[in-house]
Amino acid sequence: MKIAVLVKQTPDTETKAKLGANGLETNGVKFILNPYDEFAVEEAIQLRDKIKGEAVVVSLGPDRVIEAMRTALAMGCDTGIHVKVSDEELKKLDSFTVAKALAEALKKQGPFDLILAGKQAIDDDALAVPQMVAEFMELPRATVVAKLTVSDDGKTAKAHRAVEGGAEEIIELTFPAVVAAHKGLNTPRYASLPGIMKAKQKKVEVFDLAALGLSADNAKVTYEKYELPPEKAAGKVFKGTPQELAQQLVQHLRNEAKVI
């Protein structure tokens, strides 16, 4: 069974946003493996161990994303595919072109039986690339998957997709397929020290966009403007007995904020 895991390197959750002409100033930003992708990596490793095969980590981005790929390799992925773009290209890219490039790289290095990804990246929260990769490869897909049961022969799966109100849609998939992982799919492991040492030796294939028949100008959108949210004025804080507090709150919500 050959499994691909699509990962993205994202700014850490605690990042303070400083903006330049081209968006977020990345100087001084700590980058991490997108938290949802950790679930996808863990699932790939567990399935690789259970059904036997290979787990390949795939990422698009500038040189720095190799660090996120090394994290996945240290956790246990076998090899990597890096779709390398310059910082200039990255600023122009959109979900469409990223998904197209990943799909082309997967076709080149495949065929893969299963393509895993995190359901969304915490930087743009688009929840778009996994479905778009599936569409470009004409594969079945399931997103926001909180539980995945793969048959022993590694040919089919049942995916539990989390929807509103705590309900789950049960989706039947025949491989090859794309699955986007939700929190709770598993408990991602920490990379061990020997794992981190081994990761440095693991092979990573590199493609640029041109090698995949693409260019950053294929993007369907242009980015026009970046801005910070307006500062919020300080609020009112009330003290008193529970009844007084409740009365103050309700009065302000009705008469001042007008939301009740």
Binding site: D123, A128, E164, G165, I170, Q243
Partner: protein, 325 residues
């Protein structure tokens, strides 16, 4: 005139408000809007739906139903919308950024060879140019993007756009024939709660509790308050991790992003990950015993007190106010 196809969803027989917001956002900017809805509910309530979508400026209400559509089937939805979109000469596909739309629209963007702007808080249609503003890094900054060309696929965050005054004109009802074959089949919907509270991501009012709620059964005091004001119930990650609430209720970075008019945080300290999921709420109320809790810096109204005392008192005050009208 730019033609826009707006995907809408129904719940309990009614077109969801977020869908109407999307229709109005485009029709009020001069687009010719047609609405499309799927499933037995859309078919059963077509006449009422045509009235409300028409009221917001939609000219047509297209319904699509078949025996296969008891559950959401992404493949049938995508193929039918793509066929309708191409045949109808539409330029824009839009919808409220619901759980379903977030799943469906990227597939459609890829199929229609279109750019996508998900979960937007502003959409501007000027002539044949469409631009959209969306949050990045959970609202730490915003980007405005412009589509180079049509078709364009855009989803709009619920509760951001206003609804217009009802025009009084119903949309014309028509049918779309379901197309496409199923690659990934939804065979069941498990664990649907059946409660009548609104969905968190689309709720106009939310009341959430943190670890200070101490136990899962104590959520009943939160629920009691929620039911008086028609709110959804949420939880912080700390409460979820401690097993007091399911992950489906989690508001924040690794949970749901919400955007209500009123967000009441009870016993939530206001970790950056929680704020990431709710800070765009129009009015934030914080109830906490700790006056130093970071949530007070984001709150419009804060009450320093114990949620076990303040929330029941608040429930009573809401009852008094709402019964007085």
């Amino acid at each position: 005139m730019t033609k826009a196809l707006v995907f809408v969803e129904l719940k309990n027989g009614n077109v969801k408000k977020a869908g109407l917001e999307t229709i109005h956002a485009l029709s009020s900017q001069g687009a010719e809007v047609h609405a499309i809805a799927f499933g037995p509910e859309a078919a059963a309530h077509a006449a009422e739906a045509a009235k409300v979508v028409g009221g917001q400026g939609a000219k047509k209400f297209i319904k699509c139903d078949s025996v296969d559509l008891k559950f959401y089937q992404s493949d049938i939805y995508a193929a039918t919308i793509a066929d309708t979109f191409k045949a109808g000469g539409y330029s824009i596909l839009a919808g409220a950024a619901s759980t379903l739309v977030k799943d469906l629209f990227p597939t459609l963007a890829a199929r229609l060879d279109a750019g996508i702007a998900p979960d937007c808080i502003e959409v501007k249609l000027e002539g044949s140019s469409l631009s959209a503003k969306r949050p990045m890094l959970a609202g730490k900054y915003f980007v405005t993007l412009k589509f180079k060309a049509f078709p364009a696929v855009v989803s709009i965050r619920p509760n951001v756009m206003a609804i217009g005054a009802d025009s009084g004109t119903a949309a014309e009802v028509s049918d779309a024939t379901p197309s496409g074959s199923i690659r990934a089949k939804t065979v069941d919907l498990a664990g649907a709660s059946g409660n009548s509270r609104p969905d968190l991501t689309e709720a106009d009012r939310i009341i959430s509790a943190g670890r200070a709620i101490k136990a899962a059964e104590n959520f009943k005091i939160i629920e009691a308050c929620a039911d008086v004001i028609g709110a959804a119930v949420g939880a912080s990650r700390a409460a979820v991790d401690a097993g007091m609430a399911p992950h489906s209720m989690q508001v924040g970075q690794t949970g749901k992003t919400v955007n209500p008019s009123l967000y009441i945080a009870c016993g939530i300290s206001g970790a950056i990950q929680h704020l990431a999921g709710m800070k765009t709420s129009k009015v934030i109320v914080a109830i906490n015993t700790d006056p130093e809790a970071p949530i007070f810096q984001k709150a419009d109204y804060g009450a320093i007190g114990d949620l076990f005392e303040v929330v029941p008192a608040l429930t009573e005050e809401f009852k008094k106010l709402l019964s007085a009208g």
